[in-house]
Amino acid sequence: MIIPGTFGRDIAEVLADPGPRRQPLAGFDADYHDIVHYILKCTHRIWEQKDIGLIESHYAADCPIWTGAGPAQGVAGVVSGTLRTLAAFPDRTLIGEAVIWSGNDRDGFLSSHRIISTATHHGAGEFGPATGRSIAFLTIADCLCRANLIVEEWLVRDNSHIVLQLGLSPRAVAAASPPSTAARDWWASENARVHGAPALAVGDPMPDTAADPQAFVHWFAGAVIGRRRLAWMRQAYAPAATLAAPSGRRLIGHGEIIGWWTAFLSSFGDAQLVVDHVAVQPVSADPADGIDIAWRWTLAGHHDGPALYGPPSGRPVVVLGVSHWRIVRGVIAAEATVFDELAILRQVMEPA
């Protein structure tokens, strides 16, 4: 049975979904009918209905949360972080663009939830005093879920786009919030993990995206990115493919997409990238609508190029990223890649 995703569904219909339960969900609350329903409904209840306390029954007490800016742990931090964000952006709406999941209730579901938020900066918060500006920004939350609890989360948000829309300078905001010791330690361990990982053993030909989407992801990461065979992006992407990239960039076509990857990779000449998770789901019951792929990755390298993040600092940099692909007729028709460029700036601005 195909679990319905966000395709063609209005949020009011998702929330009013009478069920029945569509897949085994041992330990989940009775009013959740499938993993997509769980993610969309609890997001609405916590963030839009402001039922912040619901976090207590939806996050494990010791849940680790990984962001580009460093790690956090525990449900208390999730509650306080949610309150702070809502104090700054009280009318935030969280429009679910996709929930791309894998797993099951025994081993855990991994849900990759892409959200476009609209919000007004009405209150003081992590980005400074209220500006009154209305903004929109992308977030992807990768959540490992078991028995109604999120037990681990990887959260990436386009913070540089938020900062730009608020009329602020990303470099100034990054400089005003230096990294914690925990963040520095995590970046160091991630750097070692990525550079210690063996190169992905992939061949040259592009795998069939429909027959083996996992192999396609590994080919893209290992060959196209890993071996810098950027020309092969013209096989992987439709000619008029779109890419939503950090800082709110909206790119179209092979030239702009390859251009963005070129600038990003040139910023970290020795960059290596590892694939941390892949999930694949059909877009709808109609195969012609294609498949959605979510893949989370970590990149590590040294800041030795000026293309995107200022003059080369030589500093080691770790990037936690999540990419979502809509595959139609065998090629990428649309991509959203999210990572925190403020976290990159904090790393390149670290004193030597």
């Binding site: 395709f7 063609g8 009011a12 429009i95 013209r234 008029a240 092979h254 702009e256 251009g259 070129t262």
Partner: protein, 211 residues
């Protein structure tokens, strides 16, 4: 039942998904309320063309072309190309800073000539590149390196083609990237071209985001 875009123009919220996103020029609208508010401003004109093929829908008004991407028959994404007066270009530009350009327009061709496209649209794109289409002169004269990238092409019942393209080029150090809409006869004759003079005039005036 009337065309899905016509229903949206008439304010029928059920024609539009709550999470709809629309593009107009270089600006984006997010959410049903914002999109219906904008469509309300375009309503009241008779549709000259309206077609739905698969998940793509197209509707032509006398001074606007609308392209929709459908999900389960409802509008999930919308491109609005309206013939807006260019007089307020400075105001529009100031509200929409931009990034510096990344990448090239003609990917991977280097010194080679562009790959010829197929059919009537391909011929038209070549004619545009050769600057021999007076009807598209406002677009090409604004950018010496302008090109058209086809995004969605629909064959209409009368055999004509409707094409949503992206106009790409450079002006004043900015990457200009705007949707345009074309109606092409079976022989490659350009019936109509719809572009947004306001967005075209404003694009080179946009301030850069701080770096």
């Amino acid at each position: 039942m009337s065309h899905v875009i016509a229903r949206a123009l008439g304010g029928d919220a059920s024609a539009v998904l709550h999470g709809v996103q629309a593009e107009e020029g270089f600006a984006a609208l997010v959410g049903r309320d914002a999109v219906l508010d904008r469509l309300r401003e375009l309503a009241g004109q008779p549709a000259e063309q309206a077609v739905t093929i698969g998940n793509d829908a197209f509707l032509a008004l006398p001074d606007a072309h609308l392209w929709a991407r459908l999900e389960a028959g409802r509008i999930a994404a919308l491109s609005i190309i309206a013939d807006r007066d260019a007089g307020d270009a400075n105001t529009l530009a100031a509200a929409h800073p931009c990034h510096r350009p990344l990448g090239e327009l003609m990917s991977g061709r280097g010194q080679l000539a562009p790959m010829p496209g197929d059919g009537a649209l391909g011929a038209l794109i070549q004619a545009f590149a050769a600057r021999v289409l007076p009807a598209l002169a406002p677009m090409s004269s604004a950018m010496p390196d302008a090109l058209l990238l086809p995004r969605t092409v629909l064959t209409l019942p009368d055999g004509a083609q409707a094409a949503l393209c992206q106009l790409l080029g450079h002006s004043a150090g900015r990457r200009i990237s705007l949707p345009v809409s074309l109606l092409i006869g079976p022989g490659g004759t350009l019936f109509a071209a719809c572009h947004d003079p306001l967005a075209l005039a404003a694009a080179p005036l946009r301030p850069f985001w701080p770096e």
